[in-house]
Amino acid sequence: MNPSRTENVYLPKVAILDRVVEDIAEVRTFYWHFEDPAAQTEFKRFRPGQFAQVSLFGVGEFPASLPPSPAEPETFFTVRQVGSCTGALHRLKPHDRFAVRGPYGNGFPMEQYRGKNLVFVAGGIGLIPLRSCIVYAMNHCDHYRRIQIFHGAKTPEELMYLSSLRDWEKSGHAECHLTVDRACNGWGGHVGVVGSLFKKPGVSVPVEDTIAFVCGPPIMFRFVIRDLLAMGFEERNIVSTLERYMKCGVGKCGHCCIGTAYICVDGPVFTYEQIKKLGEDI
């Protein structure tokens, strides 16, 4: 048997909550840091698209994507309150302690995408896991050609990271296109599903040498994929990040397995070409 010391992969490290920012209804961003500065330095080596396991002791543990880019000074999670663990996180106040382990997963191969156009398509809180790549791409905008962000939500109140989207647009490195399913008072923008933005007058989506990042609810995913394929995108140039019920994050507990892949260690990032071959519906 392996004589080298085995690390305890289930052991989380204590983290301290710094501040909480309200994003949209039931979704908040939690800025935090590790109690141990060495752990913080080590953790900051994460890649865009990876995730971490967040522990609320006495309640449980849940996987959360990492929306910050590694280059950003602060680490944070953006989490919607859906179950008992996320609910417990939402009840924490600044200076409260919880615990984190990770980062896990493969992440997006951003280096491989050098010299390409990047198209981000996000439905609702699907923008959260893509935020890391967007910020990474903005910081390395000389590595990439055009950067486009298409973001749709049910209502204008449910659009994610609105102020960041405005900043990215203002920087001149990215085009942002927003849409909502139902317009409310004061919404002067586009109305329709996110795929309808591709055909909006004045919008041209490059297909050659382009990577499309897609993340959102299953129904949105299905239609956006259909649109992208119809536009001529190759299956291997469409990437997404999947989610599943997950307990361990390290390929042992068996919950997140879809077909032949463990989302936690083989993913969560897959190309559409891979997703199709998993052998099970996503």
């Binding site: 002791f57 006495g58 309640v59 200076h95 307990k247 390290v250 260690v265």
Partner: protein
């Protein structure tokens, strides 16, 4: 591998040797009727250890992967937390485990220790575990109606992965084979003596004869593995299998090669919680249910599909170097709907034959 011969009357002295080494020895016992179980050997029950008996339904897997195991203890005071991992590091021997279960533990070894992330809890249980395998030779007592290790190629005699293997040669003699240096070290004891070519010949003859005693011999894994891996099983067949599944989870709990677990936090004191892991089952509806209620694998037949895909698909065989079925037959014995591994393999093979695109005979 080195082999020795010992008298049948001396076999249980191996248990004494292991106990003298300071090991906790686990051995099989008979309860009433079919009931058999593994238990810790004490001075009081030492004489009741059984060499030939039906394999206990509750597999010895729990001695390396307990059905409930504490991972962490967390003490919290005034908003501060102390997280303390807790380990069990037993010095144990499993006496009398069958070849299928030896292969089961070997499968778990590769699953928990052979990947990117090594499981330290499993490793600590496994590190000082001594395995004494007993070859199933008695058709009446050892080989059950559901046993099918001859189909999964894991028995009746394990080829490796044990420390010591014992086989009843009849006539009051046993053959002992050492699989590791630790097993070989036991041969220093005077109960072991050198065997002859005749003993080796007897072993071969007995094994040849025993292989003919299995009642379940039609589990044609290679064809099924191919069909499952190629996605050639009709949805209708999974539905038929799903319709017969009572969703009790029994097959996964008795399986020596099932690895899934869930993790749960529980309060154990005013300022203390512990995190435990518990065996989980892909047969149960909540296995993939996410917070918020969305369940991507809700239908029973999807879950059955999942279990057999995970066990039989070529992809996973490549990943773990063996399929996750060791032919012990426990799932077949406990399943009320008769959708244990041998029946399912047969159903899948028949169903695939029906839709074989290469079938040369057309009507």
């Amino acid at each position: 591998m080195k082999a020795r011969v010992l008298a049948g009357a001396d076999v249980l002295k191996i248990v004494d040797l292991l106990r003298r080494e300071g090991r906790e020895v686990i051995a099989p016992f008979c309860g009433r009727g079919r009931d058999t179980y593994f238990d810790i050997v004490t001075d009081a029950n030492r004489a009741d250890i059984q060499i030939h008996l039906p394999n206990p339904y509750y597999p010895p897997k729990r001695f390396v992967f307990p059905h409930i195991e504490r991972l962490l203890k967390v003490r919290g005071n005034d908003g501060q937390f102390q997280i303390e991992p807790t380990y069990e590091e037993p010095r144990r021997a499993l006496f009398g485990i069958r070849s299928c279960d030896v292969e089961g533990i070997w499968h778990l070894d590769r699953f928990y220790l052979g990947r990117d992330f090594r499981d330290i809890y499993y490793e600590k249980h496994r590190l000082n575990l001594f395995l004494v395998n007993i070859v199933c030779t008695d058709p009446a007592r050892d080989i059950g109606d559901e046993c099918f290790c001859v189909c999964s190629d894991t028995g009746p005699a394990a080829r490796d992965h044990f420390d010591l293997q014992l086989m009843d040669l009849g006539g009051g003699e046993f053959m002992a084979v050492a699989g590791t240096p630790a097993g070989e070290a036991l041969f220093a004891d005077p109960i072991f003596r050198m065997g002859t070519a005749a003993h080796v010949e007897r072993r071969r003859a007995i094994l040849g004869e025993v292989r003919r005693q299995f009642k379940t011999t039609t589990s044609w894994f290679p064809a099924t593995v191919r069909y499952v891996s190629e996605g050639r099983i009709p949805e209708k067949t999974w539905e038929e299998i799903g319709n017969r599944c009572l969703e009790c989870g029994g097959c996964t709990y008795v399986c020596p090669a099932c690895t899934c677990f869930t993790v749960s936090d529980r309060r154990v004191g005013p300022n203390e919680t512990e995190r435990v892991r518990i065996w989980d089952s892909c047969a149960l509806g909540g296995f993939t249910r996410m917070a918020g209620g969305f369940n991507p694998r809700r239908a029973v037949h999807d879950r059955r599909n999942r279990r057999f895909f995970r066990k039989l698909a070529y992809y996973f065989i490549q990943r773990e170097l063996s399929m996750a079925c060791v032919g012990c037959g426990r799932c077949a014995a406990v399943c009320h709907g008769d959708v244990g591994m041998p029946s399912v393999v047969e159903m899948l093979r028949r169903a695939s034959a029906d839709v074989n695109p290469n079938e040369p005979v057309k009507d």
